[in-house]
């Protein structure tokens, strides 16, 4: 018989175990929308986005050049099956509201209700330093703690940043991920809209996280936000992003670009809880540079989407810089999570770690794809790569593609990989302690991902565990 604690836990989960469609997969009416571009990607569409946003000429030129790169590059044949994406069947720009507000009461009612349902205003009140809420192509709400603003912290949407801090944006723009880096980065560079701009002045510690929440509502929608974080010397910031979308029978595309510059002795942590619906292709390029004695951390949780291809990377450019990537992927029925991370040691005495955890069930496929490079001149480096995969049934699949390149003799590099199944003995032991089979499996899975969840703020760790429990529902028997 289950203990009272387990019964209580089970009851608390009962409300959460409403399916994705009800909790996140609802969609709003589009009747009040300000603008919706026709489907397809043309030079005219790109020009109209730029014109609509009243951008400077250099940005318009950047977009058009990026479009040429996108059109001239072949679709990648590695990773997931990208041939399923019909680039002509996507709305590349949708403006739901004319206004970006700093007050929830000014956000259009439908959109505000959506973010209320997703718990964003409540989270802002409780434990965040600032919030950005992007709905379709643009940010509809943005707010940052007044004390931080007084210290010179800038946290705004990218469109506003381009208008109000053009020189600062231009100095860093596309220097970490140039438009011709890859086909999807070129696409984002051509049609980007929204995203966050974060600037933390030297020595400022942002105690509570900044959060951005991304929501796609329209069917066949493309969301292409662009985020740039600049953390000056000795500063510290934690940025969190979350995302969901309605459940549709046709596909949507999310292709973001995230660039981060961690200056000397600074620390940046970027946490993602990706929970797109299973009709979203999630193809994201994320890259950070860490200068001398800086620390850069990616905490990357991929639960949703049809196909995710995302490999956050860190270039350790200054001596004694440190990089960490914690990646968790959950691949259920019809999902392919092709995730991982890249760390490039380009300076002496740098250190890093990559911990990847993947869980596959119901025929889902998870892939770890990673790179660890120790460049010529990066002496006395240390790095550890650990990839653990958990397969919950015979139909699921896990692949690991670790690449390690070392050009220095004194590098201390370790690589470990494990693939495991939930063992009958583990289940039997837990069941002998009063848990049923499903609860026992959830407990084993939660233990498996614990190294990642313990790095999350408590609210997100709880949510991540709940989401995984939701995904686990019905996985046994």
């Amino acid at each position: 018989m289950a203990t009272p604690e387990v019964v209580a836990e089970k009851e608390s989960l009962a409300g959460i175990n409403a399916d994705y469609k009800e909790k996140f997969g609802f969609h709003d009416s589009e009747s009040g929308y300000a603008y919706k571009a026709p489907k397809g990607l043309t030079r005219e569409i790109v020009e109209s986005i730029s014109e609509y946003k009243d951008e400077p000429q250099w940005m318009r030129d950047f977009r058009l050049k990026s479009l040429e790169h996108f059109e001239s590059r072949p679709t990648p044949k590695w990773g997931g099956d990208l041939d399923q994406i019909d680039f002509d069947d996507i709305h590349y720009f949708v403006r739901a509201s004319e206004k970006n507000s700093r007050d929830w009461s000014e956000v259009p009612e439908d959109i505000k209700n959506t973010f209320d349902r997703l718990g964003i205003p409540e989270a802002e009140r409780k434990f965040l330093s600032g919030v950005g809420a992007q709905y379709e192509s643009e940010v509809v709400y943005h707010q940052v703690n007044e004390k931080l603003e007084a210290q010179g912290v800038i946290f705004t949407d990218m469109d506003t940043a381009l208008r109000e801090h053009e020189d600062l944006v231009r100095e860093y723009w596309a220097t970490i991920i140039p438009p011709n880096d890859n086909k999807l980065a070129a696409l984002n560079s051509a049609v980007w809209s929204g995203g966050s701009f974060v600037y933390v002045p030297a020595g400022v510690k942002v105690e509570m996280p900044l959060q951005a929440y991304f929501r796609i509502n329209t069917e066949n929608m493309g969301q292409f936000e662009r985020t740039l974080i600049i953390c000056e010397e000795g500063a510290d910031v934690h940025y969190i992003e979350g995302c969901t979308a309605p459940v549709y029978s046709t596909d949507s595309l999310h292709s973001a670009v995230v660039e981060i510059c961690a200056k000397p002795s600074s620390r940046v942590r970027y946490t993602t809880v990706q929970n797109w619906s299973q009709n979203v292709f999630n193809l994201v390029t994320k890259r950070a540079v860490a200068h001398e004695k800086a620390t850069m951390e990616w905490v990357d949780c991929n639960l949703g989407s049809k196909l995710t291809m995302k490999y956050p990377s860190i270039y350790l450019l200054g001596p004694e810089a440190h990089g960490e990537i914690l990646s968790i992927a959950f691949a259920g029925q019809g999902q392919h999570q092709d995730a991982g991370g890249k760390i490039i040691h380009a300076a002496p005495r740098t250190s890093s770690s990559i911990f990847s955890k993947s869980i596959s069930k119901d025929g889902g496929r998870s892939t770890y794809r990673g790179l660890l490079e120790v460049a010529d001149g990066a002496t006395e480096t240390r790095s550890k790569v650990v990839c653990d995969a958990l397969l919950l049934d015979e139909d699921s699949r896990s692949d690991t593609y670790p690449t390690i390149r070392i050009d220095e003799n004194d590098a201390d590099v370790g690589h470990e990989a494990t693939v495991s199944k939930i063992g009958d003995e583990q289940l039997f032991y837990l069941q002998s302690r009063g848990l049923d089979e499903e609860e026992a499996s959830k407990m084993i899975v939660n233990g498996f991902i614990e190294p990642v969840t313990k790095e999350l703020p408590m609210e997100y760790a709880v949510e991540l565990n709940r989401l995984i429990e939701l995904q686990m529902e019905g996985s046994i028997g």
């Binding site: 140039p178 880096d181 890859n182 270039y315 380009a346």
Partner: protein, 109 residues
């Protein structure tokens, strides 16, 4: 012609490389791109330090004195060989150029 530490290579008559022009030459097993940046002659190794792909035939901005790698978009400063954008982070080799008797001459180690 070798002067002890460097070898001097004749590239072409100066008139054949006008402002905004680029000429690719081969020396032993190395390819070198010679550029005319609006009157200033600059030369770099034709190899992106990111993945060793060809570099010199990328997009050349004579006014900014930069070359963009055609493979992944790293932008290199032609005067220093240093990348201004990722994914490349290591510099590529540069070479001194002079004009002698109306001929562009390159000094390679």
């Amino acid at each position: 012609m070798t002067d002890g530490t460097t070898t001097k290579i004749s590239v072409c008559p100066a008139s054949e490389l006008p402002p905004g022009g680029m000429k690719l030459i081969e020396h032993e097993d190395m390819k070198i791109g010679v550029f005319n940046c609006d009157g200033t002659l600059l030369a770099i190794e034709d190899r992106c330090s990111h993945d060793d792909g060809p570099l010199a035939e990328g997009e050349f901005d004579a006014a900014a004195c930069t070359i963009e790698c055609p493979r992944h978009g790293s932008l290199f400063d032609l005067s220093t060989g240093r990348p201004k954008t990722l994914p490349a982070f290591a510099p590529v080799q540069t070479f001194a150029t002079t004009v002698v008797d109306d001929t562009i001459v390159l000094e390679v180690p």
